[in-house]
């Protein structure tokens, strides 16, 4: 306890010190008059972006893909998770009408836990299960500036749990969404989507937007042909205000609130024969958040930013109720170049409190818990040869309540043989810290029949559960062969230790109901290896072609099946090969035809055979401010499963679907 207090105290001191330094520096720095700069100086100036690194994708020594708002629109996607199908190395599978499994480089699951997802700098990773509820991450697509997907551990800048990747969703500044936008989508799968937005200005440097969106997704059909009761109704509204280029820097305030109703169909365990009963569950989720950010250029090549947010989420299911409030404060500082060193460092604190509601199926050691997370990072980009060779060394240091101190170092080397090519390599260590699920929850997984008597398979918590660890070795090559043609290759070898497995404890077989307790242990290890390749080609002014391929091979060694039940399950839940082919053709100035063809390899864990999926979009700019698009999805097949066993009661088929969308801007 004493050491804990010391750590907490040190953390707070650290943070106060940094904040103080930032504030002092902010008032000391003075502004440059852009119009006194010579053309030479301006041509030589580098562009700052709002993201944590101001490097352009081409220059970043990592496996990065960027989806722009335009890419998403032209793929005909109606959600962020659907748009992620375009990115090599990302596995996207729709579980049912309201649930998706998304992961990077394998280990997919409905709550895949080795991926960090952030929207405008706010983590949307749920600490209860270490996963992302994709149904509630419903961003208004026209607001998206870009989605940056970093495959591999981005740990040195982005915190824990970015074991296999980071997805950063970045929305446009308010000044880029001025005026009125109204859009209506109607279709067979996405039954209705209605969006409205208004943007205006606030004084000399300020802009704002307010928006609201309603979404209604139809129930899908189960394999047996009945309704899966899994439709979704969601409403949300929000705002964003930005003040750019004020003498005190750039300011952003944004907030949003949502209400989401979904459902699902599943078998819940009972202690009477046949030991399970059908449940048609109604799931309610509500939430709201507020975020503020301050960014300031400190002279020529230095930058400071402070960000804070408050996030409330509530999710009520028959098996568990969960209410959580999170406060996060995060600061970072980029120092001016010092010799050949370019140092950036930062620190953050997160407080989270949850209140859980038990059910006959789930109970826990304590129903409300405060958690504190302290983190800091430092990174130095060292110029070994100007414009040619750089070494980036960094590490993230974190203290969490479950496993204590975690260090996640990272070394990256990048070589630019010329202006258009780059070769990079990286070694990084990252951790996935335990969730409340592994640490505190007792779950009645299933009731089995043993000679006609009920036997409960019960997941019990393990307070000694450690963080899962990975050491990742990566290499990549990028070449902008001509202004019209570029290629990007990446290869990786990930070495995992302390992977979670579910091990059997001593059973109770004296009297029925019998009990088979299982618990999460760190008994698994293994490795994954793979490659990702993509090509982008613009043969004509009005035609863009792109293709990508990804391969992931997973090798896991866990305790034998009489000791553990899922130690190698992850091998079978991700397709080993994926590919996509994109064509974007502007037939005339006003008519565009876009096609995307996806190949997804077999997912043996769910007996899902390999499939091809074709999505097409016809876009027509009817008037200057009015656009109509007609999108057909999954055109090649009547329906197919993506992420559920044919024997699951709620297993759904993803149908062929069509929608039309009118967008009006004024």
């Amino acid at each position: 306890m004493v050491t804990h207090c010391i750590r907490v105290g040190t953390g707070i001191l650290w943070l106060t010190g940094i904040l103080l330094a930032l504030v002092v520096h902010a008032w000391a720095a003075d502004d440059v008059d852009r119009f006194t700069l010579s053309p030479e100086q301006l041509f030589n100036a580098t562009v700052v972006s709002v993201s944590r690194t101001s490097e352009r994708v081409m220059d970043a020594p990592a496996a990065i893909s960027v989806l722009t708002g335009d890419d998403i629109r032209r793929a005909g996607a109606t959600s962020v998770q659907e748009a992620l199908r375009l990115v090599p190395g990302v596995q996207v599978a729709q579980v049912n009408a309201n649930s998706w499994a998304v992961s990077v480089r394998g280990f997919n699951g409905a709550l895949a836990n080795k991926l960090l997802v952030r929207i405008d700098g706010r983590d949307v990773y749920d600490p209860l299960f270490s996963g992302v509820y994709w149904d509630i991450q419903d961003v208004m697509l026209d607001d998206i500036d870009r989605i940056e997907v970093v495959r591999g551990p981005g740990a040195s800048l982005w915190g824990a749990n970015a074991v296999n990747g980071v997805i950063n969703i970045i929305t446009k500044k308010a000044r880029d969404t001025q005026g009125v936008l109204a859009a209506v989508t109607a279709g067979t799968k996405d039954r209705t989507i209605a969006e409205g937005r208004y943007g205006g200005s606030l004084g000399e440097n300020g802009h704002y937007r307010v928006f609201s969106k309603y979404l209604n997704r139809s129930d899908l059909e189960t394999v047996a042909g009945s309704s899966a009761h899994d439709g979704q109704q969601m409403g949300h509204a929000g705002f964003r205000a930005d003040w750019d280029g004020t003498p005190q820097g750039d300011f952003t305030f944004q907030g949003e609130a949502y209400d989401n109703r979904t459902g699902d169909m599943r078998l819940l365990p009972t202690f009477t024969s046949p030991f399970s009963e059908l449940s048609l569950e109604k799931i309610e989720a509500r939430g709201a958040h507020m975020l503020g950010r301050w960014d300031k250029a400190m002279g020529e090549d230095s930058n400071a930013s402070v960000q804070s947010y408050l996030d409330y989420t509530m999710r009520k299911q028959d098996i568990l109720g969960d209410e959580r409030i999170t406060f996060d404060l995060d600061a970072q500082y980029e120092l001016p170049a010092w010799g050949r060193n370019k140092i950036i460092f930062g620190a953050g604190y997160r407080y989270s409190h949850d209140t859980l509601t038990a059910s006959p199926y789930v109970s826990f050691t304590d129903d409300g818990e405060d958690t504190h997370l302290f983190s800091s990072f430092i990174q130095n980009k060292i110029t070994l040869a100007p414009k040619e060779l750089f070494l980036t060394l960094g590490s993230k240091f974190q203290h969490n309540d479950f496993t204590g101190f975690e260090m996640q170092p990272n070394a990256r080397l990048q070589w630019h043989p010329d202006d258009t090519q780059m070769i990079w390599g990286s070694i990084a260590r990252a951790v996935r810290t335990p969730s409340r699920l592994e640490h505190d929850l007792t779950i009645n997984q299933a009731v089995l029949s043993v000679f006609g008597f009920p036997a409960e398979l019960r997941l019990v918590p393990n307070t000694d559960f450690e963080a899962e660890r990975v050491t990742a070795y990566e290499m990549g090559y990028r070449n902008q062969l001509t202004p019209e043609l570029s290629v990007d290759l990446a290869g990786f070898y990930n070495d995992y230790t302390y992977l979670s497995t579910l091990n059997f404890l001593t059973p109770q077989l004296i009297s029925p109901p019998f009990l088979f307790p299982i618990t999460s242990t760190n008994g698994g290890r293994g490795n994954t290896q793979g490659i990702e390749a993509s090509v982008d080609w613009r043969p004509l002014d009005n035609l863009q072609l792109a293709a990508s391929y990804s391969l992931v091979q997973i090798h896991l060694i866990g305790p034998p099946s009489n000791v553990a039940i899922n130690s190698t399950a992850a091998i079978e839940q991700s397709p080993s090969q994926q590919a996509n082919f994109v064509s974007r053709w502007d037939i005339t100035d006003r008519i565009a035809l876009d096609s995307t063809l996806y190949y997804v390899g077999a997912v043996p864990g769910f007996k899902v055979p390999e499939y091809w999926r074709l999505d097409m979009r016809l876009g027509w700019q009817i008037l200057d401010g009015l656009e109509f698009s007609l999108v057909g999805q999954n055109l090649l097949q009547g329906e197919h499963r993506e992420f559920s066993s044919p024997t699951d009661i709620g297993a759904v088929e993803i149908p062929r679907s069509i929608y039309g969308r009118f967008t009006w801007r004024y």
Binding site: F35, F43, A45, D59, G339, I382, L393
Partner: protein, 183 residues
């Protein structure tokens, strides 16, 4: 753990032993650089004498918040002419400008506008991809983390605009003669 310690040590050693001072470039927001360059275009490009009014009009076609960056130069003088900044809502309004900025959302209207502005001394500037190939004069693009400027000298010449050598040396010169309509 041993690897982590090794990396940490390496970081400390490598980070703090190398220390030759490298010349670092300015870091600015994209719009700041572009606004700065537009100011320099007014300075290093000469308009035909007949339009030398007392003021020089910089316009933005369509709704674009980029105008806020340009507003900061309003009221300054360049080559003894006072800069005014305004938005141009339609083609006739665009015709009376000296410099016209068209954002990417004006892509669809550009071919029509180009025909409308033919032969008029209006310097057209845009971020539209391939703008200089479609009869535009100046196109802002990116090269690495720097702003790249493409200049279609044929289009500028046709509008009787003279670009000084200092600017010509910095931009990427392209040639795309205007299609002859002859109808």
């Amino acid at each position: 753990m041993r690897l982590s310690l090794g990396l940490a040590l390496l970081m400390l050693v490598a980070g703090f032993t190398v220390s030759a001072r490298a010349q670092e470039a300015l870091q600015l927001h994209e719009q700041e650089i572009e606004a700065g360059l537009i100011y320099n275009f007014l300075k290093y490009i000469t308009w035909p004498s007949e339009t030398s009014r007392a003021d020089v009009a910089v316009c933005v076609y369509g709704e674009d918040s980029f105008i806020n960056y340009l507003q900061l130069m309003a009221g300054r003088t360049v080559n003894q002419r006072r800069i005014t900044v305004r938005s141009a809502r339609d083609f006739p309004a665009a015709e009376s400008c000296d410099l016209l900025f068209i954002n990417t959302s004006g892509k669809d209207q550009w071919p029509q506008m180009m025909r409308f502005l033919r032969g008029k001394p209006v310097l057209t500037v845009s971020t539209i991809d391939g703008f200089t190939d479609k009869g535009g004069m100046i196109e802002f693009g990116r090269k690495g983390s720097r702003i790249q400027v493409l200049l279609n000298v044929d289009a500028a010449q046709a509008a009787r605009l003279h670009v000084e050598d200092r600017l010509l040396k910095l931009v990427t010169v392209t040639h795309a003669p205007l299609p002859d309509e002859g109808r």
